[in-house]
């Protein structure tokens, strides 16, 4: 397995897009810490960057990379290699390079400017979000043979989780304001990895006080260590489930 991961990793790291992505993340992170006088404000700025750009780049780059390596996959398939191994290697290679780009671009400024639990939490969540959206990219690229369709699905997925989901939640919140839906809200956030990540970090930034009664409910759940573990497990599920569905489909695909 190592040999194939190495080949893929080297190929991705040679790609200039990954380099540009790292530099952009670094520029955004360093400047948001430089602009704000206290690190908590800087963290909030970076949070929005992480929750917006990291998923977009992860899912788009991975989807396009997968479509472009169809020749490579075909070539490897005629060699004595397990299908499962090819797909897993691609996943590990892409995840590793996305995590590496995030680690260098945003991880270093975070460690320098906010070397506390919140900073570490942010790095961990950023890495998880990167891997989650790589997994979603695998799912969207296995669903269709058509490259344009596949990239379309990837963009829609990102759009849904980054923008639409919040809109739907907000709409529900206002429509059902007369009912006690606070506990249900906690459950609904589990349906979007981005919201899960956002709430997890907000809880640690002590700005949940601004979120009113719902914020208090969130604090009750996500603020505890059980809530922390559960939300991390949920984020891990967001990696495992899409990837395993795609692996299953890849094992049965005709090439």
């Amino acid at each position: 397995m190592n040999r194939i991961i190495k080949i893929i990793l080297l190929d991705i790291l040679k790609n200039k897009i990954v380099l540009a992505y790292t530099l952009i993340l670094a520029a955004l992170s360093w400047s948001s810490f430089a602009l704000e006088d206290n690190s908590a404000k800087g963290l909030l700025t970076i949070l929005n960057v992480i929750l917006f750009t990291v998923p977009l780049v992860s899912i788009l780059f991975s989807t396009i990379y997968l479509y472009n390596s169809s020749e490579f996959i075909e070539l490897l398939l005629s060699q004595p290699i397990k299908r499962r191994k090819i797909w897993t290697s691609l996943f590990l290679g892409l995840s590793l390079s996305m995590v590496l780009a995030f680690g260098i671009g945003a991880g270093i400024p975070l460690l320098v400017n906010a070397p506390d639990s919140v900073g570490l939490m942010m790095i961990a969540i950023g890495c998880l979000i990167s891997v989650i959206f790589v997994a979603l990219a695998f799912l969207s690229s296995i669903l269709t043979r058509d490259k344009a369709k596949g990239i379309g699905i990837a963009i829609m997925t990102w759009l849904f989780f980054a923008l639409l989901f919040d809109g739907i939640v907000l709409f529900l919140l206002f429509q059902l304001a007369d009912y006690p839906i606070e506990n249900a809200m906690v459950g609904i956030t589990a349906l979007s990895p981005i919201d899960l990540a956002r709430i997890q970090i907000l809880m640690h930034l002590d700005v949940s006080a601004m979120m009113g009664y719902t914020g208090a409910i969130f604090k009750d759940f996500f603020g505890t260590s059980i809530g922390l573990i559960v939300s991390f497990l949920l984020l891990c599920l967001w990696v495992i489930v899409p990837f395993f569905i795609s692996l299953k489909k890849f094992n049965q695909k005709d090439l």
């Binding site: 040999r3 194939i4 080949i7 190929d11 472009n68 390596s69 169809s70 020749e71 490579f72 075909e74 070539l75 490897l76 398939l77 005629s78 060699q79 004595p80 290699i81 397990k82 299908r83 049965q252 005709d254 090439l255």
Partner: protein, 240 residues
Amino acid sequence: MIDIQNITKKFGKLAVLQDINLSFQKGQCIALIGPNGCGKTTLIKAILGMVLPDSGSITVNGKSILGEYLYRNNIGYMPQIGRYPDNMTIGQIIEMIKKVRNSTADLDEELIRAFELDKMFDKQMRTLSGGTTQKVSAVLAFLFNPEVLILDEPTAGLDPLASEILKEKIIREKEKGKLILITSHLLSELDDLITEIIFMQEGKVHFHQKIEDLKASTQEDKISKAIAKILKNNRHEPHY
């Protein structure tokens, strides 16, 4: 060596392979012929595990290939249209496949020299002509001295010199007792190569005969003429 039993495959509603039963032994050189879209390449890809048949079984050396991958150590495959990562050079592709296989067997680099590919090792795959890409495919198929060679339209796109080199190479490998499976439309090229012929039509095996039997029964000494005669005779048969 390779046994194919009751293979069927459908792409959507289109039945590409219908109940195929074939058996190939060592030392044979088999030509797989038939009109375009009759399922030749699909059959080959099924043997390689790239296409998964809907039903039936394929065994290599007595073992089912379903979910297996190590049997591909013994197979060299030359695809009809070789597709390679664009930004890699010829040398990198060959190096990569060597690394991936991690084989300790003697490498057969004869074709690299014969095709003079060593002079173009740093050329990128996207800059190559169709014929040169075919040469790379051929090199990769023969590189690991496999017991089984599966060649899908090997000489299509090659210049006369290169296709002669490849043909001689195939004959030499055949004499070593390897199993060789060729698909081709150029019947005249097959004359001095093959020992058996399989004619496929609309996803079915039309006939599977030894060359001597075929020539004897049609009283022709050229394969192309023998095939033409059979097809002509078939046309007079009533269709049910």
